[in-house]
Homo-oligomer: 360 residues x 2
């Protein structure tokens, strides 16, 4: 059954109002705010129908109406006006993004922090699982007992590790190993790094001290870490400002779940296309702990076919349109800068300024 225009308007009004006030919405309030020229009695009739259709519900017989998950779903899919953020707001987001992400690393924890700040909900940033391979493998010789492993992955992230060894290592061995690893270990996944391969490399390098194993272990570690989807959560505490989490136990449960960082988001779903916003409302979530919360997820392009995701968690009574709009901009910005694996022009510029003021 398709909803009449008026029902849609009323439903939208209920959602808007409820999101704003967190109080069940009465017929009178709607009659006043939503500018349809009819009385509260008419609205009451409509509301009753919306209830029986499953879009709304009543906490108790003589209370206002509250959207059901199905109601929110309808709202998100059809009713909510794609919020246009004002120019200032957009600017602000971009500015903060530049500022925040210029510092050292645009690592996912920074991204999640930013998302949380912007939306004022807890946010989480996730890496997506995908086959990662090693693109480059370098070993920097520091001294006879020390070297630095530097691995560049196919997703353009670089990892390093400082290794101390109890035994001395010849500089040439290190170089040989470096070359061997670069030829043998690039372009393959962690599963392909078999003991056999390590043994072969070891023999080829004449490595009698097992350094190869240490390095290979690092390679495996990096690869599997990169493939394990990890989530960074920040701003858990913002949950507490939501009235639905005034109950400390409830808040604690969800926050604990979030900090656990487990597989929070639909693990089976393939990541959406970059730019796409996905909304999971209440029971649509797989995790039991999220069953009465909502999640908004934006996907961005992290370059080299990998996708990143930023999600925001809140009560089902969530300001979907604003959150979606903000995440959209954030995701777009991230795609822009990560997609090509380079810092944004401004970032570079700001740094370069130091060239100028040499008289100091």
């Amino acid at each position: 059954m398709v909803l009449s225009e008026r029902k849609k308007k009323i439903l939208a009004a209920v959602v808007d109002e409820y999101v704003r006030t967190a109080e069940p919405v009465g017929s009178k309030a709607i009659a006043q705010t939503a500018g349809l020229g009819c009385s509260s009695a008419t609205i009451r009739n409509e509301l009753a129908e919306l209830v029986s259709l499953g879009y709304l519900e009543q906490p108790h017989t003589s209370a206002g109406r509250v959207p059901t998950p199905m109601g929110y779903r309808m709202y998100v899919n059809e009713l909510m006006q794609k919020q246009k953020l004002s120019l200032e707001e957009t600017e602000d987001i971009n500015r903060r993004m530049n500022q925040k992400l210029r510092e050292l690393d645009d690592t996912i924890d920074n991204v999640s922090r930013l998302a949380s700040q912007l939306t004022d909900y807890p946010a989480l940033a996730l890496t997506t699982r995908s086959a990662v391979t090693i693109k480059r493998f370098d070993i920097i010789y520091v001294d006879a007992n020390t070297f630095i492993l530097v691995v560049m992955l196919s997703d353009n992230t670089v990892k390093n590790k400082l290794v101390h060894l109890p035994v001395s290592v010849d500089k040439r061995l290190v170089q040989r190993l470096s070359a061997l690893f670069n030829s043998g270990f690039t372009g393959i996944t962690d599963e392909q790094i078999t003991p056999l391969l390590i043994n072969a490399t070891e023999r080829a390098a004449d490595d009698t001290m097992g350094i190869t194993s240490v390095i290979a272990a690092f390679a495996i570690e990096v690869l599997s870490a990169a493939e394990t989807p990890t989530a960074f959560v920040s701003g858990e505490n913002r949950l507490l400002s939501q009235p639905e989490f005034r109950d400390p136990d409830k808040a604690h449960r969800l926050m604990g779940y979030l900090s656990g960082g487990g597989n929070l988001l639909p693990p089976d779903q393939t990541p959406a296309d970059a730019g796409e916003i996905r909304v999971l409302i209440g029971p649509e979530n797989v995790a039991e702990e999220l069953k009465d919360s909502s999640v908004v997820i934006a996907t961005y392009d992290a370059g080299d076919n990998t996708k990143g995701m930023i999600g925001v968690v809140g009560p089902t009574r969530m300001d979907y349109s604003t959150v979606a709009a903000k995440l959209s901009i954030l995701a777009a910005g991230l795609s822009r800068r990560l997609g090509r694996g380079e810092a944004p022009p401004e970032g570079l510029h700001n740094k370069l300024i130091i060239k100028g003021d040499s008289n100091e």
Copy 2:
């Protein structure tokens, strides 16, 4: 005035009991638990004196007693029995430390997570401010537009950054720059990296494209980031399981403060010696938000004269002895492994096992 033995015992009993139950402690309860052979009436007299001495207080006239900050202080300084953790517990901590910190990075966020898990309070790990210099500077040439900067600092941490440039760079220029940076930028602090120095390097390398600036900017960034004391907080949500934070507003305030990650701990105090445990009780804290919470801080030796700190935050009604004992072990473990900047033997071993099972 010095407390009589019995008063001490009673005070200790009050603290212990209150820590356990979070309820004001009555005279009868003490008469039963603390095995001093006297009746509740006697205890009442003693309690009344302890109140007038300032060690205890009453929430209201006809309630049990609760320790004041001064009472806790006395407890921590003199009464609390230095808790000996059982062998199993110690083992457990060490095992978890090995497990947790073996993964890729023993970074401070992992340390703080671990501390929080162990104590079941929110924990924060801090780096201490100290003059950091660059120990090594390497540039890995990836392709004409891409290279990886690898910087090893005096505190034995290694940072890297992938740099894309819009212009092509000659491989030899990169090598020359690498050499120049290694000679010019090692052993100096970020303040010593003046525009003059950059300019000189630039000219020496014949760098007309300003790559030097980009690299120098990274150097400065890394150095100043390393010198900025940062705090990593985890387990904020554990606050919520404490009855004193059942009020969401109160919890929110403190959690917000913690997540802010600001200068949480006595900024003026010089870090204690490694192994030392410091306890700040309620109003002893400088930060307004911590005035009715307590903080336990352990200092560990992070190698190369730098100290690290792990702190735990909780209500003043905190299990000081257990927390102190656990942090102690944690700090000792960290000193052991970070002090010499190497992975613990077990960690290495476990990795090396993969050598063995090549028949798979």
